[in-house]
Point group: C2
Chain length 201, copies 2
């Protein structure tokens, strides 16, 4: 009963993650009422997405389709002996925005999760082990998410790396209070960590 | 630092209503990780959206780009003397799903809202007045939203129509308890209406 093109747009937009039929309806109707330019822009961007983006074979970061290796790796100003390990490519973006890190990155491609069927050998751990040797890495900073999956992955990674390279320094991002969150809202584990790792002022 | 095509997809998807940078990032990354077929599908659907959908010049419902007038209006099985008035085209879809209404529709194109600068003469009220005369309508069912704007629009519409056509029957959708909502969560106005318009069982 709805126009065919509108139904098709609603169905297509409903494939975005977490978008149900009502939200898809709202998106489609909004786009129909807006300048057709917005439809064209989204349309073109999505058509170029797969050809324009690929995974770096060295760091597994996302890179331009025309690049060979991530520029964050090839940049001679960056310290190849310090490798920061993240779960997903977009995590690199978050760290880069701090402007505090000048080493290189390694993307695991997820975290161990028995429920989702993600086992350690599906993560890029072998490639990390090889890189540590080839680049003569001195420090590995584990920056997995502070979730159950991220924690298990961090523990396994630390164990595996130390076994292989007993000399290697393996560190993790600090735990503590995030900015702007009330003390009374912080969970017990975070507060314990904040107390334990207190710094002098 | 992110691949150009990914940044472009994030920016484009960020133009959807209520989608901020984080959500746009999630959408774009999800699409990149999924089958390219999904990108193609969304892309094609959006390219066809504006050419494939237009507004019915009679009822202001959304119709296929190739149609002249809404099939909900031209269908001889539908009663042209009963017109249900809604704010937006998608409201028709909600009413149609009840399978209870066999009259015709008229879309106002919004509701009076001084804050958003929507005045009565921007709504399709003139066209409704003309239709009532041409189709010799007997009943107008006002089905605006139960919001402040919808209520004001309903009141103005009722006043205007009765002035023009004193014989016309003007009705409104009933107020009462919706299915599945606990009595204690219902607001005062809804409860008052439910009590006042109680039905015998």
């Amino acid at each position: 009963m709805l126009p065919k093109s509108l139904t098709e747009a609603i169905e297509a937009l409903g494939k975005l993650p977490g978008v149900g039929p009502r939200t898809a309806e709202r998106y489609a109707y909004y786009l129909f009422r807006s300048n057709p330019e917005i439809c064209n822009e989204i349309s073109n961007a999505l058509l170029n997405l797969h050809s324009g983006v690929k995974t770096c074979p060295k760091t597994f970061a996302l890179i331009n389709g025309t690049d060979e290796v991530s520029s964050l790796y090839t940049d001679p100003a960056r310290d190849k002996q310090t490798i920061l390990v993240v779960e997903e490519p977009l995590d690199i973006y978050a760290i880069e925005q701090t402007n505090e890190f000048h080493g290189t990155y390694h993307v695991l491609g997820g975290a161990i999760s028995p429920i989702d069927g993600i086992t350690p050998d599906q993560l890029h751990i072998k490639e990390l082990i090889l890189r540590i040797k080839n680049d003569n890495a001195k420090e590995i900073i584990i920056a997995t998410n502070p979730s159950v999956e991220g924690e298990s992955t961090a523990l396994l990674l630390q164990k595996t790396l130390i076994e292989k390279y007993p000399e290697l320094k393996v560190t993790r991002l600090a735990r503590g209070l995030p900015l702007g969150v009330d003390l009374s809202y912080a969970d017990q584990i975070t507060l314990s960590a904040a107390l334990e790792n207190r710094t002098s002022i």
